[in-house]
């Protein structure tokens, strides 16, 4: 992103805007979005496959027949785990993006790292960070809910588990992108 926008901005002599662009777009938008897509594919798929296999091998029913609520025992801990890990991983992705783009800006656009991070620090505002973290938390819950629902709805053995896992990833990614767009429209309207 730094490279692509940097070359375009260079034509107008405004490549110094790259650190600001990266800082705002990642903290407010791309950090949560990209982490959401990765987690939907990794953790969401794992949740669906695990719960789906438990469902077809009667393990979920066995838990229910013991008098233990499957929602409390199987779904709640997974939701808490993914909802809490999403903001943390989103922060990691933002930091990695800032470090990566500072190296690119240094080597390709001649922006020194010190100057880069100075600009980043002045461009970052608390509300962007809070919005980004809130979105990450919400996306975590969304991915977890979709993955667990798909897993517990599996019927039809191994084929059913495969289909539910694919569905889970596709639905979760589509929802994450959809809700992200909706969030952006809302936030822009409120903060304008």
């Amino acid at each position: 992103m730094a490279l692509l926008t940097g070359y375009q901005l260079q034509k107008f002599g405004t490549e110094r805007l790259v650190p600001t662009l990266i800082a705002i777009s990642f903290t407010r938008e791309l950090g949560a979005l990209l982490t959401g897509i990765v987690l939907a594919a990794r953790i969401g798929a794992a949740y669906t496959a695990e719960l789906g296999t438990m469902q077809v091998s009667e393990e979920v029913e066995a838990i229910e027949s013991m008098g233990i609520g499957p929602l409390r025992f199987l779904v709640a801990p997974r939701l808490v785990a993914i909802a809490l890990s999403m903001p943390c991983l989103s922060v990691v992705s933002c930091v990695a993006a800032l470090i990566g783009s500072s190296l690119i800006s240094w080597s390709a656009l001649n922006i020194a790292p010190a100057a880069y991070f100075d600009t980043v620090m002045t461009s970052l505002i608390t509300s962007d960070i809070v919005i980004g973290l809130f979105k990450a938390l919400f996306f975590g819950l969304l991915i977890g809910l979709i993955a667990c629902f798909q897993g517990l709805s599996v019927t039809g053995g191994a084929e059913g588990v495969g289909k539910a896992t694919t569905d889970s990833v596709v639905i979760a990614i589509t929802n994450v992108i959809g809700f992200d767009t909706f969030f952006n429209i809302m936030v822009t309207k409120i903060t304008r």
Binding site: S57, E58, A62, I63, S65, M66, G67
Partner: protein, 260 residues
């Protein structure tokens, strides 16, 4: 038999779309009974167990646990009731990611607040009862079918249940292990004074275990009696099922269904 039945099904009907799986099933299970429900594959035997557990709700009719109407219970009371029933599933249904110890400890840890020492002692005791001491740290995937079944029985015993439900306990096991499991069911229910409902279509197992038998055919109980009455039943359907003859009303009905 004037005592209150532990489980009572009253004209239970269960339909999936247009198909009636159970079509007016009634029977009672009294304390210390070992009731074996017989029937062909797909006749609704396991479904009956699911209805008793409250996992499925009947389309009409009522299911009682003593005086409690199971389908009317709230989730919390239903869970409390389920904790008094031990279930052994056809394919054991042990949690594959947990060791034997964790599988056995699960219901107690989740439902009661017992100290660790007490839970460990109960695990040891129940593993000993089913002849599986020393397997605490094994994963279900490391055990054979018969071993898994025994662990599943031990797990069902962890909450000292009033009633034990067995879904095809000898399915997929060799005749020797199958007999061992049958003996285990008899000994455990006698030692614990528990009541049991066993669903099976294997006649040898059924006659070994049962103090009472009920046969489910085309959604109805066609005979509910003592095992000796089943051996000399006058009902041609029961007779064919017990003897395993290839000719009779059961095969005729399958052929008719196939041709229509």
């Amino acid at each position: 038999m004037s005592e209150t039945p532990l489980i009572h099904l009253d004209e239970v009907v269960l339909r999936f779309d247009d198909k009636a799986v159970l079509d007016g099933v009634s029977f009672s299970v009294f304390p210390k009974d070992r009731l074996v429900i017989l029937g062909q594959s797909g006749s609704g035997k396991s479904t009956t167990l699911r209805l008793i557990l409250g996992i499925l709700k009947p389309t009409s009719g009522a299911i009682f646990y003593r005086h409690l109407k199971i389908q009317k219970l709230r989730r919390s009371r239903l869970n409390l009731l389920r904790s008094r029933m031990g279930v052994v599933y056809q394919y054991s249904a042990l949690i594959s990611s947990m060791t034997v110890r964790e599988n056995l400890a699960l219901p107690v840890e989740e439902l009661c607040r017992k100290p660790r020492k007490e839970i460990d002692a109960a695990i040891q005791k129940n593993l000993e009862l089913v002849g599986m001491s020393g397997s605490e740290d094994s994963l279900p995937s490391e055990l054979s079918g018969g071993m898994r079944k025994r662990i599943s029985i031990a797990r069902a015993l962890m909450m000292d249940p009033e009633i034990l439900l067995f879904d095809e306990p000898s399915a997929g096991l060799d005749p020797v292990i199958s007999s061992v499991i049958d003996e285990l069911i008899i000994n455990l229910t006698e030692q614990k004074g528990a009541t049991s409902i066993v669903v099976t279509h294997e006649m040898d197992s059924a006659f070994r275990i049962a103090t009472r038998m009920a046969m489910l055919y085309q959604g109805k109980i066609i005979q509910d009696d003592k095992p000796e009455k089943f051996r000399c039943s006058k009902n041609p359907i029961v007779r064919q099922f017990v003897t395993g003859d290839t000719e009779g009303p059961i095969t005729e009905s399958i052929e008719n269904a196939g041709s229509s």
